[in-house]
Subunit: 200 residues, 2 copies
Amino acid sequence: MAARRNNSKGRPRNAEATRQRILAAASDEFSRHGFAGARIDRVAGLAGANKRMIYAYFGSKDQLYEALMERKIAEWVEAVPFTPNELDAYAAARFDYMQAHPEVRRLAAWRTFERSKPTTAERAIYQTRIDALSAAQRAGKVSAAIPAADLYAMVARLTESWLNAPPALLATSRSPLGFKRLAQHRKALLRAVRLLSEPR
Amino acid sequence: MAARRNNSKGRPRNAEATRQRILAAASDEFSRHGFAGARIDRVAGLAGANKRMIYAYFGSKDQLYEALMERKIAEWVEAVPFTPNELDAYAAARFDYMQAHPEVRRLAAWRTFERSKPTTAERAIYQTRIDALSAAQRAGKVSAAIPAADLYAMVARLTESWLNAPPALLATSRSPLGFKRLAQHRKALLRAVRLLSEPR
């Protein structure tokens, strides 16, 4: 905040630029190596900063990671709004975002893998969405065949069917039976989400 | 093979027991740390063997990993037969197996995560299954709404909707809106697979 307030003085602008460079480097490092494997030395090297600066700006490895995740989650929530009444549109947007942001996919995969403690904000996002989906089911806008929490988890996983598929299955997918082109798979994804969610 | 042929002499039986102990230790180590992070010293410690013995039995870290994966894949294929005409039963069996074998889940997740080179055997398994599913669609036993390769990938991911869910979503799932009991989620999973695959 101080940086923004004093932008006219020049130096705080540099401070903000350094902060951004450190966060970009942290995104690279944490998405490659996970939280446990990430090294602050490498973040410093990538950011063209030194370790002391990183600690001065962010406090600790934990806090740097938290600042990064907070920003990534905010960007993702902003870019892929949850639309319970049009789950297929949500799935398509989520698929496109994950496709375009491999580092977000890897950060998320590491979080699951390392069983990171969820933040209060993350939990609130999911809870709000499940509540909204449940309301859409009660209003008859979404099929109630599958309970809201399950349906939400399923739709999320479906958007990653190929993105997170085992390497051997990916190898197969290039066969004539596979999806060949992304557009074909995207169509199949939308179809699947409709089959699970459209009221009939 | 030599070990089996000479079982009556006693020493080869020990050799086989050592081999088994090493593989069990390798399963623990590779599922915890992935291929890159695994340490042969720790495998030796866990197996009550020494590093030289491991290299004598398996050749290298690479070959130990391959021997382990070969066995794990064979066990999994044996325990969860693919039944293209009853995809819901397959999904239920896959879910139960993954539930009961967290180390298999982690080994598989690492493989995806580390982008391991798929083995010829693995690729053949997937290709055979996608071919069989495609045939079931042509025969009208399975809905052709979703192409076979996509459907296979989707059903596999659906069985892991909660098992591989983000920690924050898992935290939500214990809410009254969540699945609370595994049996409820298992039911929702079967329902989802039927919606995607039942001919109508």
